[in-house]
């Protein structure tokens, strides 16, 4: 792959009930990303927005945010899915050789709708939508399958919640920062067994943007470029009953491809910091396994060891992760933005000292049907 770098990032604070319009939210992060990169809109020739018509409550929802992303008079396109996938599309367009600099934007105001009802619409209207499942109840089926298979405990899942909510206290963008104990998580109200209130992410409003650039453009950028060293995505079967819910084969495939591109043979040793899509506490443990940070079924033991907390060998989600802010369709791009801040040494109180290689991960679909893995570095290949 030719060299591509991320040269600008911008995020809003994530919160519920934000009173900005879609365009106002997206303009804020577009402006921030341009300023961060030291660019003007004239320097951008390619625009990728991220929308979902159901979530946004309007048809061709990209029309609400395209202009705020700088689309007028430019090549502008749209992706429906997590922001890691829009970034992937932006990367491919950058690699086409046609564009110098690409802005990727994504926003979420899902709190304005009804998140459970909206998520239920992801199920098949001909078959199981009528059962009334949403993200929490469907993920509970996955959590149980995974935990039963490997003997992962609710306390081990709770450790993820304790760790990430505590990390969020160092992230000015986070929505829910908490100082809690395993006991607090265990005693929080049961929602769908084994998932409790403090095992789940909040639905957050917010936006994120990144700017991708060709090698030539990146060398002229204001900030130290963060190079895309490896990236891949992979999709599992749509229906839960057709997947092995105890292990994410799609994540393993995506991770292996991304690692191969990046020359990573031992991810746990070679990656300095990871930002993963922990929509639920158990997911972080499953994703450790899919990402090859530990063997199958050992995710609980890994979090227990403390190696993934701040100061550990491989801190995971220094930002507080998705458990601390879940702007749907933004959260994966926010993982990339956080990884970039880490690699520039600009992550403030959540900085992992001397981080050279970072991993960012996004998911789309019911129980992580699709996974996208990015390996980024401040060192050139």
């Amino acid at each position: 792959m030719d060299k591509v770098a991320i040269i600008g990032v911008g995020q809003t604070r994530y919160e519920r009930g934000n009173t900005k319009s879609f365009a106002e939210l997206v303009y804020e992060v577009t402006r921030k990303a341009l300023d961060d990169a030291g660019l003007e809109l004239d320097n951008i020739d390619n625009v990728v927005t991220t929308t979902n018509d159901f979530y946004d409550g309007r048809t061709i929802a990209c029309m609400a945010v395209a202009e705020a992303s700088g689309s007028y008079g430019r090549d502008a396109t749209n992706v429906e899915g997590d922001g890691t996938l829009s970034a992937f599309y932006g990367l491919m367009r950058t690699l086409s050789g046609v564009y110098d600099a690409t802005i990727v934007t994504t926003h979420c105001k899902m709190s304005e709708g009804n998140p459970r009802k909206l998520f239920n619409q992801a199920f098949d209207p001909i078959y199981d939508r009528i059962l009334g499942m949403d993200a929490i109840s469907s993920s509970a089926l996955q959590a149980r399958a995974y935990m039963d298979r490997y003997g992962v405990t609710e306390e081990q899942c709770a450790m993820v919640s304790v760790k990430n909510h505590a990390n969020a206290r160092n992230n000015p963008y986070a929505h829910v920062a908490l100082e809690i104990t395993i006991d607090d998580v265990m005693k929080s109200p049961m929602l769908a067994e084994p998932i409790k209130r403090l095992d789940i992410s909040p639905i957050s409003d917010g936006a994120c943007a990144i700017i991708l650039a060709t090698e030539e453009r990146a060398r002229k950028s204001a900030k130290k470029p963060v190079w895309v060293r490896g990236v891949a995505h992979c999709t599992d079967a749509y229906r839960l009953g057709e997947r092995d819910l105890t292990y994410s084969a799609a994540l393993e495939t995506a991770a292996k491809k991304a690692y191969k591109m990046a020359g990573i043979r031992n991810p746990f040793k070679q990656i300095d910091v990871a930002e993963v899509y922990d929509a639920f506490s158990y997911m972080e443990l499953m994703w450790y396994e899919g990402l090859g940070f530990c063997d199958r079924g050992k995710g609980g033991k890994l979090v227990e060891s403390g190696k993934t907390q701040m100061g550990g060998e491989l801190p995971v989600n220094p930002s507080g992760g998705v458990l601390s802010a879940h702007p749907v369709q933004v959260a994966g791009l926010a993982r990339i933005a956080e990884a970039v801040l880490q690699l520039r040494g600009e992550a403030g109180g959540r900085q992992v000292p001397g981080a050279k290689t970072a991993l960012a991960h996004g998911i789309t679909g019911i129980c992580g049907q699709t996974h996208c893995v990015w390996v980024l570095s401040n060192e050139e290949a």
Partner: protein, 163 residues
């Protein structure tokens, strides 16, 4: 009026928030495969499709094997009993979504003769005593309507009545 968009204006932080409702009728053609599956349920038969290449039986059936991309046409009848693979007991209430009142259970059930699991409701059960691996049996709706709830739910099989 079938198409309805209403707006109510509220104020928050000195700014306006427009609150509306989207209600749009929609029609989904079930297609050949699902239509035949529901015709089977009318006769209390659970039908699946066998993939000729992967040798797996998919229940509920679908047109294309996701693994090998084969066009599936080999219909087979599977059992109305099977094994609970995973489950959850839901404790929160969403009256517009949930077909039954909380607490209630969802499960994924692999029917005898099928290789994939069917997500469904679990009924007539002690929800505190559910365990993966237990055997369940389909309870068919008295008056089929051509949708997924023509199997009303799956209920545990009393061990005494079994084997």
């Amino acid at each position: 009026m079938e198409n309805e968009t209403t707006f109510e204006i509220q104020e928050k932080d000195g700014l306006l928030v427009h609150q509306g409702v989207i209600r749009v009728p929609y029609t989904w053609a079930a297609g050949e495969v699902a239509s035949r599956f529901y015709a089977g349920l009318r006769e209390k038969k659970v039908l699946g499709l066998r993939c000729p290449a992967c040798k797996v039986v998919l229940v509920p059936p679908k047109k294309v094997c996701h693994r090998c991309f084969s066009d599936l046409t080999d219909w087979v009848e599977v059992g109305d009993e099977g094994v609970l693979q995973t489950f959850t007991v839901v404790h929160y209430s969403e009256p517009d979504l949930h077909p039954v009142e909380a607490p209630f259970a969802y499960g994924i059930i692999k029917l005898d003769g099928a290789d994939t699991g069917m997500t469904h409701l679990i009924g007539e059960a002690d929800i505190k005593g559910l365990k993966a691996g237990m055997r369940l049996k389909a309870v068919f709706r008295h008056q089929p309507q051509g949708n997924y709830l023509d199997i009303a739910y799956f209920k545990p099989i009393e061990e005494a009545n079994h084997g």
